[in-house]
């Protein structure tokens, strides 16, 4: 049931992404996805495997839920954020987009904790917020670099 819930949430985000007007090209989305996933998986592994600050349940269903959250939902939300930021006019709207995505991350993480998918051993929501703010800033840096690269003959839209 937990896995079903998270897959449904993932589908919802994918649908939002699919229908939203996009400012990045297909190739830029791929680059953003892969680079953000690399950083998310690295940091999550450091906090779970190396430091042991977060424990992940070893039951297959719960682990798959964690895996789906880490590998699909997290980067998908960053793609949505990148497009929202690029479309937003004015700092207030950009800030609102960042806060909304951050709140979504916190709610999803809280869901994982409440449903016993993960356990915070030496971790808390302040660390979590810092970690995800870092992911958001990293994704915005990648977007900035991609935009600075400009549109040349290789640029093409979805």
């Amino acid at each position: 049931m937990i896995l079903t819930t998270y897959v449904s949430i993932g589908w919802l985000f994918a649908a939002i992404f699919w229908w939203m007007p996009k400012r990045l090209t297909f190739l830029e989305h791929l680059i953003l996805w892969f680079s953000c996933s690399f950083v998310i998986v690295s940091l999550r592994t450091i906090f779970t495997l190396n430091l042991g600050w977060i424990e992940v349940e070893e039951s297959k269903q719960l682990f798959l839920t964690y895996l789906f959250r880490r590998s699909f939902i997290d980067p998908m939300l960053l793609l949505i954020l990148a497009n929202l930021i690029l479309r937003a006019k004015g700092v207030m709207w950009k800030l609102l987009a960042i806060i909304s995505i951050l709140m979504t991350y916190i709610l999803l993480e809280n869901g994982l904790v409440q449903l016993n998918v993960i356990h915070f051993v030496k971790f808390n929501y302040l660390y979590f917020t810092c970690m995800y703010l870092f992911f958001i800033l990293f994704s915005l840096l990648i977007v900035y670099l991609l935009q600075r690269g400009g549109s040349s003959h290789e640029d093409f839209n979805i």
């Binding site: 297909f26 892969f34 998986v41 690295s42 495997l49 070893e58 590998s71 290789e154």
Partner: protein
């Protein structure tokens, strides 16, 4: 100690064969990327390089951690600095997979043999790396279990390559 993983496997603590393998492969791989004539626009090249890194990382941090825990990478079961380089090491492989495909203008009928040959080469390199201590298999995992993973990853990369090319053509048509 509270908060630390209960059981960490340590294979060795020295800078030896596995670290040298990672470094040499990394340096040679990226040298070749820079030396060979450019065939792709910058963003496309970055994508092919990133794909290798992402796939290595994704599978290593999925099937090599609990509850699967099928293998460890490099000296310890935890995530180390050398591991980071070992993921970067995968980058040129993704790049050259597409590079050679384009260079030799592989026909559609030859796609399957092309992917199979690359998967066999990948297994051979992985075998060599495991002998040098880059990979340590456990819990019944066999090196050949990686074969379908290579098939899947290379097929995905080729599919994405075609998608990227398709979007490029669409964009050109719209502009015209």
């Amino acid at each position: 100690v509270e908060g630390l993983p209960m059981k960490i496997s340590t294979y060795d603590n020295q800078f030896n064969a596995n670290e040298w393998f990672v470094l040499i492969t990394l340096v040679i791989g990226f040298l070749l990327v820079f030396i060979f004539p450019k065939r792709f626009p910058l963003k496309e090249s970055i994508f092919y390089l990133l794909f290798g890194i992402f796939i290595g990382k994704f599978f290593d941090h999925t099937i090599s951690i609990k509850p699967f825990d099928f293998y460890d990478v490099n000296d310890k079961s935890t995530y180390q600095f050398t591991d980071f380089f070992s993921y970067i090491m995968y980058a040129p492989f993704g790049y050259f997979f597409i590079y050679i495909y384009k260079q030799f203008k592989i026909k559609r009928g030859m796609v399957v043999p092309y992917i199979v040959v690359w998967s066999i080469i990948s297994i051979a390199i992985e075998y060599f790396a495991s002998k040098l201590g880059v990979y340590h298999y456990k819990n019944g995992y066999h090196i050949l279990f990686g074969f379908p993973i290579y098939l899947l990853c290379q097929t995905t990369l080729l599919w994405l390559h075609y998608l990227v090319q398709g979007k490029k053509k669409q964009s050109v048509n719209i502009e015209q």
